[in-house]
């Protein structure tokens, strides 16, 4: 839309203000994490890495980071395998009934997680899954499925269905078609879905607050306790590390998309 019609100076500066409102609060955490003081503040005399040292030297924080990481890996595997197959099935059959199934798969984004967490608290008590790695991984995996279904469905929309028909008519079995024709073409969509499912689990707090207590103490849970109990600059250091990690994952996604668009 270049050139034809430009926004007025007012519209342009207003947009800048909104962008600053969006980005600045996240950026402000960086100088605060480098403070030389023992309380939340901007650095007074010098920059200091002591709060990073506190976090990275603490077995509690490291333990939570490891736990969150492995839960995210397990739940991503679950979400990606179930979500990808489901999206392919729905795409190939493509009837009213599969539209309903796709809508069902989107429920976890639509229904507030507090409602799910309340139900799960009771449900998992009966299955003896409370406060266990498996329980949290399943809960995060199931709620991660929508992200995979969305990204894979988008990738499939650009896939020529005649390729699949050709493969089948030349005698390829369903599994062969899946393995050699469909999956390689939609890999970037699957990768995007995996990244988003991973971030979803990595950041998830509400479900964890209900179904985990002592054995499973994920990173968001520890941050939550830190914010509610003692606001010290170590929290800012954790926040910066989290932001950097998320940025890294997003850059990875961007790189993958670029490669797909180039192909």
């Amino acid at each position: 839309m270049e050139g034809a019609h430009l926004p007025s100076a007012f519209a342009r500066s207003a947009a800048w203000l909104v962008a600053i409102y969006l980005v600045l609060p996240i950026g402000i955490v960086i100088p605060v994490s480098l403070t030389d003081q023992r309380f939340l503040s901007l650095p007074h005399e010098a920059l200091s890495l002591r709060h990073y040292a506190t976090v990275l030297g603490s077995p509690e924080w490291l333990g939570s980071i490891a736990q969150s990481f492995w839960i995210a890996v397990a739940s991503t595997l679950l979400a990606v395998s179930a979500g990808t197959l489901c999206a392919i099935g729905c795409w190939r059959i493509s009837r009213r009934s599969t539209d309903l199934i796709r809508a069902l798969m989107l429920l976890p984004i639509i229904i507030p997680s507090v409602v799910y967490a309340v139900g799960l608290y009771r449900y998992f008590a009966r299955l003896d899954l409370l406060d266990r790695f498996l329980g949290v991984a399943v809960a995060h995996g199931v709620t991660g499925i929508p992200y995979v279904v969305i990204t894979v469905s988008t990738a499939l929309a650009a896939f020529d269905p005649r390729l699949e028909q050709a493969a089948r008519s030349m005698g390829a079995s369903l599994l062969q078609t899946l393995r050699w024709v469909i999956l390689p073409r939609i890999m970037p969509g699957i990768a995007s879905g995996a990244i988003f499912a991973f971030i979803h689990s990595w950041d998830e707090l509400v479900i964890v607050l209900f179904i985990a207590s002592r054995n499973v103490f994920t990173l968001p849970r520890r941050i939550w306790d830190g914010i509610n109990e003692n606001l010290d600059p170590a929290m800012a250091a954790v926040a910066v590390l989290l932001v950097l990690f998320t940025l890294l994952l997003l850059l990875l996604d961007l790189a993958l998309r670029r490669r797909r668009d180039a192909a």
Partner: protein, 281 residues
């Protein structure tokens, strides 16, 4: 005709794992919430009666609706300003603007709430700056109240407002704008008579999305509200985790779900829901 039928069975099998997982570990717990709301502490409708008789229940609902409406209005306004700028930007600039929207979208909600606490609390950076420059004599109460909640929630929701609006704005044919200008319309008239009506579907979709997401919001209001201003989600958690009043908490959870699904059903005629949730197809 038997062959295509057989072939379809294979594809249905692909859907099966996700379907079973979703039924057993998502739908079943949600249905259990519905069941609890009718059966505890005694079977009957007494939990739902509280909707009409209990003042505290009504207060929570009114507070939630008020905060959500304010949040939605502000997010739409800020989001519209941003989308308008992005839609009319050149190819290179657009990429940066979109990045400024997408990065906050994926940053942990906890990190963002923490950042706002750092900025807004009594000894926070905003108050410090205002005190040092002499604008105020006493620190302002910027957080642990409704103001703090709205600031944090709008911050969270603006990216969600931008995405559907941007999608619909980019469908607006730029030649229409150029033509209107060429025919002598002022910049403001072009915006009001051409651009705004054409981008309205995105505006409605964004409003629906933001409002629905705001209704069940837990973490941001809990941190920035400081336990004083309760919204529905935090109230539910309080009933169940602290007061062990399962029936009441489940009732409110059920009301929340029914309200959201009803709103989606109502708007599904007016809005293309695929636009709201971005599923391909």
């Amino acid at each position: 005709m038997a062959r295509p039928g057989q072939r379809q069975t294979g594809w249905w099998l692909l859907i099966l794992p996700a379907f079973l997982l979703m039924t057993a570990f998502y739908v079943a717990p949600i249905l259990q919430v519905l069941a609890i709301s009718f059966t505890e502490p005694q079977p009957g409708l007494q939990n739902y009666e509280r909707l009409f008789t209990s003042e505290s229940v009504q207060r929570v609902i009114v507070t939630t609706l008020r905060i959500c409406l304010i949040t939605t209005a502000l997010s739409l306004l800020l989001g519209y300003v941003l989308s308008y700028r992005i839609a009319l930007a050149g190819e290179r600039a657009r990429r940066w603007w979109i990045l400024a929207v997408l990065v906050p979208l994926w940053i942990s909600v906890l990190v963002r709430a923490f950042a706002w606490v750092t900025l807004l609390r009594r000894q926070g950076l905003v108050n410090q700056a205002l005190l040092e420059t002499g604008v105020i004599a006493e620190p302002l109460q910027l957080v642990w109240n409704e103001f703090g909640i709205v600031v944090g929630m709008v911050h969270y929701m603006v990216p969600y407002a931008v995405l559907p609006m941007l999608a619909s704005m980019r469908e607006v044919d730029p030649r229409l704008l150029a033509a209107a200008r060429g025919l002598g319309a002022s910049r403001f008239t072009v915006f009001r008579r051409v651009f705004l009506p054409l981008s309205a579907p995105g505006l409605i979709a964004a409003g629906l999305l933001v409002f629905i997401f705001s209704l069940g919001f837990y973490i941001t209001p809990a941190i920035l509200g400081g336990g004083k201003t309760l919204m529905v989600a935090e109230w539910i958690a309080l009933q169940i985790l602290d007061l062990i009043r399962w029936g009441l908490g489940a009732m409110m959870a059920a009301v929340l779900v029914v309200a959201i699904l009803a709103m989606l059903a109502l708007f599904s005629r007016a809005v293309d829901l695929r636009r709201v949730f971005g599923s391909g197809g």
